[in-house]
Subunit: 296 residues, 2 copies
């Protein structure tokens, strides 16, 4: 049935689905501590395009991962992403007042609440994905948990964030920049696809990994291009902030046109590794287009 | 062999052991990002009496949980505890400059680093405990991960922290105070024992749970008594700070003597549930004494 939907409808269907799953797993606003629960929902619900969840669902479709496990993995990766945004926006980090077109969590609530929100969202990601009896094969679930943890920690997202902090005002060469982005953004994007694949057939797993590496990096290159070109209203977050703070970007190192060419190369490489899989990889292919041609 | 050791030697043996496990799982200071890795080690190593790890080992001894799984669980619970201390000490929370007799993480490094240290330590806890092929029964490992996550999130530690924040300057009744402490401190102490038990025989699990509930609460009551009586040098952290900030404590609500009597009652209840298990529960019994008679 999914195969007859066009991409926009498939994406919409799965954006609604992940929103429902997140709504179900987030604690209710009526239960104590209410302010924390309210701030967690404020920071997670109705936000973004859910690219990571979509990658998880698309890879699960290719690898035939069971639905309950895929829902949990997709929710977990979105919760990790949401936690990272809340903490990144805090005054001691990027000090950003705007997120997804709304006041960021620490502006809407306060710094202490934002700290706890990020902490609790991270925990919730691992709680959701460690739900007992989610699938018949607990080893697959352990693999997914470990993929998520490795992508989020110091050899992934948190590590990239630390390198990013250290790089303000410094000149990074292209290799150092790629390492930083690979950890900060790429690792979690990759993990999203790999988690979707990890609960199913292992024959496609190397291809999904190669696809995810290219798409993860492309995502960041596009981010830098958008940060240069777009205005704040379109992005829903403060535009041009990296350049303002002398943070190195792909655009600042390569120049605008070369950055665009590089994103195009990564896009083509991502498609190439999916060639053997025909129609079953169509959602991953469509997502590659969606990510590299986005304006958000 | 363990059964012939006196408690002090058993505790010392397992304190050395958890220190070795933590040293092994923490990222090396030489690898990038070095500052983050260095700050993580600063915040974890050589700190505290490792009460949570000892509870985990003691329960594992009673329930015959396998060693690799117990090491991972003990390390994970200590990493969660360490992350919570780093974030609690930050300026937007308790703003505490002293921890375990040393400058707290944000004083030794900076706020942004402390934020990332806490984040990365939490992730590392789940990474360590989700190591693939740690034990033959992946379902037991999933149970442990879920116990840890539930004890750390909004229905556990983070929830208690949020209630604590909201309670500054307010008058809590005893029931509300118990709920707050049960979440903030008790839940993780309980989880430590329950995780040690979850990888083994399930016949003792209800007793371990009842034991852990009493000990978790006793731990906090003693904390309040020590906060009133001890000086900063003995505690290795700032003494009297809760009273200073008009935070309700067991001493402020019950009075000093009644708080001591209450801790004694909890201690006796903890011992009572272990009665059926004879010598195999001796380490849990000795830990109950250690915790309720401590001066740290």
């Amino acid at each position: 049935m999914n195969s007859v939907l066009n991409f926009a409808d498939w994406a919409k269907q799965h954006q609604v689905r992940i929103e429902d799953v997140l709504d179900e797993v987030l604690p209710h606003t009526e239960s104590t501590p209410q302010k924390l629960h309210s701030a967690m929902r404020y920071s997670v619900m109705g936000g973004g395009k859910r690219v990571r969840a979509l990658l998880c669902y698309a890879a699960a479709e290719l690898c035939k991962t069971n639905e309950a496990l895929t829902d949990a993995a997709a929710a977990a990766v979105e919760l990790i992403h949401a936690y990272s945004l809340v903490h990144d926006d805090m005054p001691c980090m990027d000090n950003d007042d705007l997120r997804r077109g709304k006041p960021s969590c620490h502006k809407q609530y306060d710094d202490a609440t934002a700290l706890l929100v990020g902490d609790a969202l991270q925990t919730l990601a691992f709680e959701v994905l460690s739900t007992p009896e989610l699938c018949a094969n607990a080893n697959q679930q352990i693999s997914m948990l470990n993929l998520l943890a490795r992508a989020s920690g110091t050899s992934g997202m948190a590590g990239g964030q630390a390198i990013d902090l250290d790089s303000v005002g410094k000149t990074l060469d292209r290799e150092a920049l790629e390492t930083m982005h690979q950890l900060k953004t790429g690792a979690l994007i990759q993990a999203a696809a790999m988690m979707g694949a990890a609960g199913g057939n292992i024959t496609q797993i190397n291809a999904v990994q190669a696809y995810a590496e290219n798409i993860g990096l492309a995502f960041q290159v596009i981010d830098d291009i958008l940060d240069t070109e777009a205005d704040t209203a379109t992005l829903g977050k403060t535009a041009g902030k990296d350049a303002d703070r002398s943070k190195p970007t792909y655009v600042s190192i390569l120049g605008l046109q070369a950055a665009k060419d590089f994103a195009d190369l990564l896009f083509k490489q991502a498609l190439q590794v999916l060639e053997p899989f025909g129609i079953e990889a169509r959602r991953l292919r469509e997502l590659a287009t969606f990510i590299t041609q986005r304006s958000f």
